[in-house]
Assembly symmetry: C2
Homo-oligomer: 585 residues x 2
């Protein structure tokens, strides 16, 4: 197959991974791609409209964000199965941050959402091009988990009013929202509640009951069964809309319906904003760039590993950035890879990005011709879809697992969770990030150090407190189990000086450096000071087992000059023998 | 000697280290203590007045800050030689931050300076009691060095107007100060310049020429020679004041003089401020608490090591905090240990804290009886003393050394230096701290990993790229040279998955963990994901040489359960033999 690609230059093949399957598409891949493409579309259409409403945007904006962005990702993304489009988390971020700038639902609000997608696109492409994908790692797992669970609670609570059929003023503060909900309970609109309950029951039945029923039917293909179990949303949308339309529940009974959705495809247009109006969106765009990318990459990695395909983080950043740019110029809003839809795509048998292009075609047909059918779609149905989608985001097993593994990490999770609930999404996540970084510095600021001795008749050296080992009378062997840097060098120095002060007869100190992976400039200064202080106290310092890269760096330094390179030994055994010969006959 | 202490409970001896020498003071220590005490006082008196003026305070405030605080430290400090009192750096911090709240020189300004000392005292005592001394390590060496050099330039430039004898409006912005200075050059007051030049020449002669001259005189005691060479400031003060007084240069020629200084000892008083007025001082107090402590501890450690005495960081925090409280209630301002004066104290022969108490007595006598003599002391003389004192703080060798050792650290230094010059002292140092932390995360975010093989006929495993080693056909041995945590776990995972994707026939992956000192919760999640992804790809994962504490933590985790404890080996040799037996006959 390689010779088919010989006319395409390698940089182009790296930049547009789709060329790989486009240039030698196999006919037998078509059936899987077509089936997966259609199934994903039936899941995507209701989700896209629901998430757009969650974000405070008209439902068609969700569909627009599922057209060009999805096609662009299919061409540029390094995963063949990933399905990008609207996401619940990003929709919540848009709602909480953009609502401060414009009235949700207004054209200006849409302009801000489009502008956010544009900025996110530029940032993600820039980070991918600068190979800064690694920066996203600063969002640690506890912070992400705490954020996601709290955001899911935010989202679910914001939908309760639609389930109850009561109008509520929008608020950023959870305690206000809760208060309003409690006060609104007496005004509950019972027909709406009936629709809500029916929708939830139907969705749960599809998700949990259908797979069991189909599993009994032995000859039914399991992949199709799994895909069918995900078709709850489209079924509930069709059934709900049909019932509301048939019985005129919208007009006569006051059930909230979506109303008229303009049919047709989006037009290319830039958001109607002055340049300066983009500025206040930057913090939001940073949060969306990181969180969107993290959603994306974790899905891409899971699916690629199943077929031993590679995912290139930086190419992913560029592809997702391009998808967001596409959203920003076609009336959409920020997108990322969806775990649910990508898994459906994969299990329904998608082989190449063509599946996503087929999804785009189906969504486009729906946008062109089916919008009038959604006129009577009840809000409650979409709210039920959102709530069931986000309950999967809440992970209360994680804090328990963390608590057992490492209480500090569990504390970071709980802090982020509470901060997101209390002070809001973006500030909460910032608090989480800063606390994790401080926690990490704290954790490494007290390195483990062990006084060691020789296991008799071997070349092994072990902790004197745990093993029965040989030591030398006026020498101390100290193993340092951590790289030395600004936050822990002084602790190490204090430990050494205290140890020396406790042993008035000490003459030789051996530092075993096999766990030191780097020494930063602060630690080097500390070591230089320590050397001088030990010399003042009449103690000779020796180093052993210094790693190659660390020794390379030390080569030209004042520290090594003052220490003397003859004091650096390859093995602890060597220096032990040398010191032993000084004292033992 | 121990039996003499038996009546004092240990907690009291730890809390008041001076009890150690107070309870068995040896007569032969007295000569050294007395001499050192007097010599330090002659250096302290001019410096204290000069630094107070630098801080925008009346000169007597510098003396007040050298009385009770110095005595308190002598009783509570764990160093016997440290001399606390006004410092140039802290004075600059006071000037730049408090001047925004009150007019320098006014009673309200003094109240804010006293209040700062009180807050600093409380913070330092709290940090010492909570054993948080380790927090100061977050100020890395490059940040401290960049800050100190930039602050020294700030200080020196702020004194140039006194050298030239021109009045200038005070400004926080260096470029404005430079502009004002250039514009003021034509108004230079030549008699003042003459005094300035003479002072500088005399100070330089004492510092550099006198030791050489005395060194030729063989029988002259070197310690006394070193102390005499530090007596330039008091000599230049006496000579300068005498000349100005004799020729009436102050009144008739317009040479700026100190004027009347109220004689007498300070009274106990709290700063006359409302409680709410303390709040804006908190960021300044945080900076002073940290920087003052770092000045203090580095001096204390240097001197203590020379006699193998211990310095207890937390006790130092408490002692310095108590000294600052003492400054705050006796009309002083924040203090810290002085490198110059402590070294003089040590080399002049101080044996115990009594030397500092003698210094206090001499300063008190000066405050009571000598103040009228300082009436004609020219500002230019004090400016010359300050400038020569702070030139020692500028360290332009450090950036060069760092540049050779590690460019990233050098960049942090230069960034802090420029930030302090450009945006001011406290914001500049904050920028430095944040950049060092990010730099550190960046540095550890790409851990070194090596594919290794067995050195033939040994149990040693080495990098395949550097050594001629044996490998196995369908197995890969990977050594990870860094602890795994949130900022580097994904990088490791990417590396492993890429390596696996490049080797389609790979079946066994061995991770050698001897340099992994901890695995945080994020990294554990990543490992769990990685394990699942490797399993999906049909690759078995093995761990070897996991450190004890790391293994203890892993014990109860889902990761270990899914891995299977039979996949964890003590030595790499064991797993190598096992895998070799699968493929080799």
């Amino acid at each position: 197959m390689k010779n088919r690609n010989h006319t395409i230059p390698p940089w182009l093949r790296r930049g547009i991974p789709a060329l790989d399957w486009l240039t030698h598409y196999e006919r037998r891949d078509l059936r899987g791609d077509a089936l997966a493409g259609v199934i994903v579309a039936t899941l995507l259409i209701p989700q896209a409209m629901a998430y757009a409403l969650l974000a405070g945007l008209p439902p068609e904006v969700g569909l627009y964000a599922s057209l060009l962005p999805l096609a662009v990702y299919a061409l540029l993304g390094s995963s063949r199965f990933l399905s990008v489009g609207p996401s619940a988390l990003l929709s919540l971020l848009i709602l909480t941050q953009v609502a401060a700038l414009a009235e949700p639902g207004s054209p200006r609000y849409l302009a801000f959402a489009m502008a956010t997608a544009l900025i996110v696109g530029v940032m993600q492409i820039a980070m991918g091009a600068a190979r800064l994908g690694v920066l996203t790692n600063f969002l640690s797992q506890p912070v992400l988990s705490g954020f996601t669970s709290a955001a899911a609670i935010h989202i679910a609570l914001s939908q309760v009013k639609h389930l109850l059929g009561v109008p509520l003023p929008r608020t950023d503060h959870l305690h206000e929202l809760l208060g309003e909900l409690v006060r609104a309970v007496p005004q509950t609109h019972w027909p709406t509640v009936a629709i809500s309950i029916a929708s939830i029951v139907l969705l749960l039945a599809f998700q949990y009951l259908l797979p069991r029923v189909l599993a009994r039917w032995k000859s039914f293909p399991p992949a199709l069964a799994q895909s069918l179990s995900k078709s709850g949303p489209i079924v509930v949308v069709i059934v709900g809309t049909a019932i509301v339309a048939a019985f005129h529940l919208g007009a006569s009974n006051g059930v909230s319906i979506i109303g008229e959705i303009p049919g047709g495809l989006p037009r290319f247009a830039l958001p109607a904003l002055a340049a300066a109006e983009f500025l206040p969106l930057i913090p939001l765009a940073v949060a969306i760039s990181f969180i969107g990318f993290l959603e994306n990459i974790s899905v891409a990695k899971s699916l690629a590993a199943k077929r031993r395909q590679k995912v290139d983080s930086n190419q992913e950043f560029i592809a997702l950035g391009a998808a967001n740019l596409a959203a920003g110029i076609t009336g959409g809003y920020p997108v990322s890879g969806s775990f649910a839809r990508s898994t459906v795509n994969f299990t329904a048998g998608a082989n190449t990005g063509l599946a996503s292009l087929i999804t785009v075609a189906v969504v486009a047909l729906a946008a062109l011709f089916l919008m009038p059918l959604f006129h009577h779609l009840p809000q409650a149905v979409l709210a039920a879809i959102i709530i069931l989608a986000v309950t999967g985001l809440m992970d209360f097993g994680m804090p328990r697992r963390l608590w057992r593994y490492n209480r500090a990490d569990a504390a970071a999770l709980i802090l982020t969770f509470l901060a997101v609930l209390a002070v809001g999404v973006t500030k909460g996540i910032l608090i989480g990030v800063v606390s994790t970084i401080l926690l990490h510095l704290w954790r490494t600021s007290r390195p483990h150090m062990a006084v060691v001795g020789r296991v008799p008749n071997t070349e092994h050296f072990r902790n004197v407190q745990r093993h029965d080992v040989q030591t030398l009378p006026r020498a101390l062997l100290l193993r340092i189990d951590e790289s030395l840097y600004f936050a822990n060098a002084k602790y190490m120095e204090d430990f050494v000086l205290r140890t020396a002060a406790d042993r008035p007869r000490l003459r030789h100190l051996v530092m075993i450096c096999n766990a030191i992976n780097f020494i930063d400039a602060s630690a080097l200064e500390t070591l230089t000071d320590l050397l001088a202080r030990l010399q003042d106290a009449g103690i000779e310092l020796y180093l052993t087992e210094v790693k190659g890269p660390v020794m390379d760096r030390l080569a030209d330094t004042e520290f090594l000059e003052q220490l003397g390179s003859e004091r650096v030994f390859l093995t602890t055994e060597e220096v032990y023998e040398k010191l032993a010969s000084l004292y033992l006959p």
